[in-house]
Structure formats: structure tokens, C-alpha cells
Amino acid sequence: MELLFQEGRKNNVAKRILKINSLQELKYPFNVDGYILGIDKFSYLFEKTFNVLDIKKIIDDNKDKEIFVSFNKIIYNDELSEYKKTLLDVDKLGVKGIIVGDVAALTYDLKTDVILDQFHLNNSYYTINHYFKNGVKGVLLTDDITGAEIEEIKQNTDALLFKNVFGFSHLSTSARNLVTNYMEHFNIPKMGKKHYEIKENKGNDYYKITEDDFGTHILDGKLLNLLGYNLPVDYEVIDGYLMDEEILLNVLENINDNHKVNEIIKNKYETSEGFINKKTIYKVKKNE
């Protein structure tokens, strides 16, 4: 089954939530139902993170929005006590949901709804139902399943489904500082850039590579844009990480007009629909 591109959102009941990468984004709350906030020390792939007090204030200032706090990092053993304490502090704030990337959080009996964001590990309704039975309220679906698979998942789970629909897809995370190591090896001065790009000699595609305290992340160089699809999910996630902020805000303002959105982004970014209509393969030859 192919999910047809829809000219504008029709009958779409999914809520839209925005990953907050700057304070500026909180001031332009166009057409979004909620925010995902990164938390200091325990989130990656956010340009801006917040402490518990900041989050409390944001909740107070945005009572019409659903607020999710993202602890999407995987956690080292020596971070656990602070991680747990921070989770329990956020648990008291009354946010709509806590997004976690590490199953350690599932052992803490949190009262707030827990949304599991294991990056690329939630691909089937069987897996999602396992976590749902074990206290998880919802999951962030991977970027590399098809629309038909999402439809089948929706029909077979009561878990809330979250799906990235706009932004640069996250492809990998390493605990190594891959760019810093390279620059050190060749004595290239670091330039304090937000990100770098890589490309194969013979390839045409660029990919974004960025470092933080955890290590190194690689993102697709093409901007995922599924805003025109009616996806059978509960929440659509919009993420301006590494995007030009002005373009992002312009997109948000015009988000219900696909034609206009495409016009806004086309001069700056190459776009992609990811795997929404394309299956991945994994056997390149038949079993002998």
C-alpha cells in the first residue's frame, strides 16, 4: 500500500509537536499543539536544552501547549543517579509526557506518561506492544519504516504513536569524537562549527556530522518532509535541528499549505520522503 501525498492536511487528527532548538521557537507558536524540550545533560540532538526550573517556567507560560521533555540519550552507568533524580524531578512537573531513550527509565515507576524513543529500534507492533505492556504509553517510530507498516502498527496497538515528519533524520550515534580525532590527527584547527558535512568521492549526497558531549551523530543531509501525508499517528514531530531558524518559522507559519512550504524550503534544502514509500532490503542474495 502506498500512502498518497495529500494536498494539504485532510481529516488528519494527529497533533503537531515542535522540538525546541532555541528560545526563539517558543515565541512563535504557530500551528503546533505542543513542544518537546531537551533537558540539560540527558538529551542529544537539541541545539538548546533546559534545566528543571526552566521547564517549569515554560509550562507555566504555555498552558495551551502539551509539553514533553526528552531524555533521549542512552545513559552511562556513572550518570545513573543524576539521571534518575532528574527524571523524578521532571515527573513532578505535570508535563504531558517524558520521552526516554534508555530502558533504564522504565524501572523507575514514573507517574508521567513515558514515551520511548529508541531511535531505530521500534519497527513493529509486536515490539511496541511489549513495551506498552510494560508501562510505556507511546513510542517514537523509526524513520525507516514505510507508511503501510505504520498503518499496520496503528491497527494493532493501543500505544500512542509519534513520528518525525519534518527535519534532518538522525542516522547514527557514536560515543567517539570522530571529527575532533580527525582534526587532531591532521593538525587542523577546530572552528567551532555547529556541524560539518561528509560526502563520498563518487557520491552526490552530503550528510551532516556533528559532535557533542556524548560523541558524534550523523544526520541525513536531505530534509525529511512528510508534512503532506496523512499519517496514521497520534503526534507528528517537527524538528528544526541544524536548520535555518528563519526558514523553520516560515514553514511553521504556512504549515497547512504544502505548496507554500515547498516553495519556502526549495532554494535552501534538498528534501526527501525517507522510507515512507520505499522498503529497505537486507538480503542481497538468496540463501544457498
Partner: protein, 403 residues
């Protein structure tokens, strides 16, 4: 000191390799079936081969673990329950899995095999480990990013059996948290199709696309892992199973690393440290894979020296010369099936399970009919060579690079 017997766990890419690994000293092997394994393009095992492998292993007091470590999509689950049931009937000892749906199916069917959580689940802390232990998982294969301190604490706090990789190639990225292959080649990394983008070379640019690298010498490839210097530490902190990477590697590779680590583990377990052998072991291990090795995350966060930079990562060699098929006690000759070129005057070493290496110089070389040869040139050619010491079927002959 850990009083439990330490398990040496070896890769088995085929039934033949399974037998070599166990013969050379592995306590257990892990293998993939034709479906559901992260080496989808390896030969892998049919169900009948798994049954034969289990029979061979159990006859030799060894165990067999089957990897079902893909991340399942909806359709992949078709047939899984029946497959698991067949594996249970085949008496496999454990399933190494990463997707928790396996836990639910195993519970529902009350299977006899143990559940071991794969490194693909990227467990870095004790509470994440406890989530799975509370679900009935008996062993955790920790993420390769764990330090000695992490491993020690996780073992102490969870009481779970812990399995750690000690030698072989590593992913650059946290295992399971990488889909580069999906995007570069449409091959699904977490369903066995990984094309190893982390071994590619790239040009590096700044965010304005100004090139920073010299040509395409930007690489994210890590050097290989070796904890050969930390065997004693691993035993002391309570690691239950020492795992070797390499289901796609050759028989020679498997036999070599298994025999070396078998001896090292036994040596440290029995407090009989032979420093000279440790030095020889390191050279043997290095020559076998021909890639640089480091302890990676075990002793510190890897930095500049633990990575490759667009340079050639492997030097091929022809160290593996042949397999011993028989020994002629009367004429003092070994019968060898050739694997690489050798000739009279070459210094060679024959090694086998639970024995000292035997090194000598080839003086005479004959074919099966006894005709004298000036060299062994043809793969699988049967050759007779002088050999004063008795050697056994399935011993291996390599270049003597140590003396």
C-alpha cells in the same frame, strides 16, 4: 578472583567453522540461522545444520547460541514462533536477541533455551540491564562502549551473567543505533544488511561546504578491539563469557584466535602467567587479522589513536599454509592440504588444540605419488613434507613469523 569457569565464546559462520572452533577450545559458539540474523548475507545455518552443530557441541561439552538479533518489522515476525519452537526442539542452549518481542514469545511458549540480550540493545548501565533481567533474561551482552568500571558495577548490581566482546572488529557507532547503511545503500543495517558505511572514505566539509579534508581521507573506521592485556581484569571483575567477533572470518582465523585466547584464559585462571607466551600471543593475534588493535572503551574513551584515517586498514598476508590431514609415523612426514604457497627452505609452524606450537624448516616436499616438488603452488593440493614431530589431523600450518 572470579571462581566461576570462564566461557570462551567463538563465532561459527558455518558448520565447518563451528567444529573448528570447538575443537580448538571454545566452550560455546554463536551462529546465525538462515533468517533473523544480523549477518543476512553470510552462508548461515539451516535448521538441520543447527541440529548437527548442537549434537557435535554437546558431545564435546560445548554450548550453541543462536543469534536472532535483527530488529523486527511487522512482516518479519511471520514464522518466528515456529522457528523458535524448532530451535527449542533442537536443544540449542540460548537465543541471543535484541528485539524484546522474543521475550514475549519465549514466555508464552515456555521454551527451555536461555535468553541472552544482544549487544545490539546497547546496554550501558545497570538499570537498563535490570529491565531485561526482570523479564527473565539470564545474560546481558554489554555494549562495547562500557568501561571496566561500568562492567564491574553492572555485574555487581544486577547479578546477571555478563558477556563481553574481547577481540575483533567493532562498529563505529553504538550497535543498533546506526542506520547509515539504510540511507547510503537502502540495505537495512538492523536486519542484517549492513554494508559497513563506517569503513568508507569521505571528504569532510564545513557547514558552508568548504572542503577541510585532503581528498577523501576522512574516515570514521575504528581500529579493532583486543583485550588481550586485560584478561586478568576481566576475570577478576566477574565477566562470565569472553566473546570473539568474526562470523564472516576464515577457519584459520577462528582456530587461531580461539587457541590463543583459550590458552590465555586458562593461564590466568590457573595463576600460571607465562610472559613470553603473552608476547607471542599478541603477535599471533595481530598477524591473524592484520588490523591494528586497541582496548577501545575498556580503559578510556577512545581518541585519535583508536581510529583509522583513510589509510589502508588491512594488510593481507598468506600466513595460512595448509591443514594437516594425516601423519606418516614411519617416514616422519605430515600430509598437508595446501592453502597458500610454500617451498623447501621456508620456516613454518604447525599448531593445534591444547599443544605447543612446533616450528621447523621444510626440507622436502612431495606430491601424493611421492614425486619431489620445488614448491606447493596449488590450493587444496595434497603435499607431503618432512616433520620430525608427530602432528595430528586438523592441526594447521602457518608461516613461522615468530622466530
Amino acid at each position: 578472583m572470579n571462581d566461576k569457569k570462564i566461557e570462551l565464546l567463538a563465532p561459527a559462520g558455518s558448520l565447518e567453522k563451528l567444529k573448528w572452533a570447538i575443537t580448538y577450545g571454545a566452550d560455546a559458539v554463536y551462529l546465525g540461522g538462515t533468517d533473523y540474523s544480523l549477518r543476512a548475507n553470510a552462508k548461515n545455518f539451516t535448521l538441520n545444520e543447527i541440529k548437527e552443530g548442537v549434537k557435535f557441541a554437546h558431545e564435546h561439552n560445548a554450548k550453541v547460541y543462536v543469534t536472532i538479533n535483527i530488529v523486527f518489522h511487522n512482516d518479519d515476525v511471520n514464522g518466528l514462533e515456529e522457528y523458535l519452537s524448532n530451535l527449542d526442539d533442537a536443544n540449542v542452549d540460548a537465543i541471543i536477541f535484541s528485539d524484546p518481542l522474543i521475550i514475549d514469545i519465549a514466555k508464552k511458549n515456555n521454551f527451555n533455551f536461555e535468553l541472552h540480550l544482544s549487544t545490539q540493545a546497547s546496554i550501558l548501565n545497570k538499570d537498563a540491564a535490570l529491565y531485561y533481567v526482570n523479564q527473565g533474561v539470564s545474560r546481558i551482552v554489554l555494549a562495547r562502549e562500557c568501561s571496566k568500571k561500568d562492567i564491574e558495577n553492572i555485574i555487581r548490581e544486577t547479578g546477571a551473567e555478563v558477556e563481553c566482546f574481547i577481540h575483533g572488529a567493532m562498529c563505529t557507532n553504538i550497535s543498533g543505533r546506526c542506520v547509515l547503511s539504510n540511507y547510503f545503500t537502502n540495505r537495512d543495517a538492523n536486519r542484517g544488511g549492513c554494508c559497513q558505511v563506517c569503513r568508507f572514505n569521505f571528504n569532510l566539509y564545513d557547514e558552508d561546504k568548504k572542503q577541510l579534508s585532503s581528498e577523501d581521507n576522512f574516515s570514521i573506521a575504528p581500529k579493532d578491539l583486543s583485550l588481550v592485556d586485560y584478561i586478568k581484569d576481566m576475570i577478576n571483575i566477574g565477566v562470565s563469557s569472553f566473546k570473539l567477533e568474526g562470523r564472516m572470518r576464515s577457519v584459520y582465523y577462528v582456530a587461531t584466535i580461539v587457541s590463543v585466547y583459550r590458552r590465555l584464559i586458562d593461564m590466568y585462571s590457573n595463576n600460571k602467567v607465562d610472559k613470553e607466551y603473552i608476547n607471542r600471543a599478541k603477535r599471533i593475534l595481530y598477524r591473524c587479522a592484520n588490523r591494528d588493535v586497541t582496548p577501545q572503551f575498556f580503559d578510556k574513551k577512545p581518541g585519535e589513536k583508536e581510529q583509522y584515517y583513510g589509510t589502508r586498514q588491512e594488510d593481507s598476508n598468506q600466513d595460512f599454509l595448509g591443514i594437516v590431514l594425516d601423519y606418516d609415523e614411519i617416514n616422519k612426514e605430515a600430509v598437508i592440504e595446501q592453502r597458500n604457497f610454500f617451498k623447501p627452505g621456508d620456516k613454518v609452524t604447525i599448531f593445534g588444540p591444547s599443544k605447543e606450537d612446533y616450528s621447523f624448516v621444510i626440507q622436502t616436499l612431495k606430491d601424493e605419488e611421492g614425486n619431489v616438488l620445488d614448491a606447493a603452488r596449488h590450493p587444496k593440493q595434497i603435499i607431503k613434507i618432512n616433520c620430525d614431530k608427530r602432528v595430528n589431523k586438523n592441526d594447521l600450518m602457518r608461516v613461522n613469523f615468530l622466530d
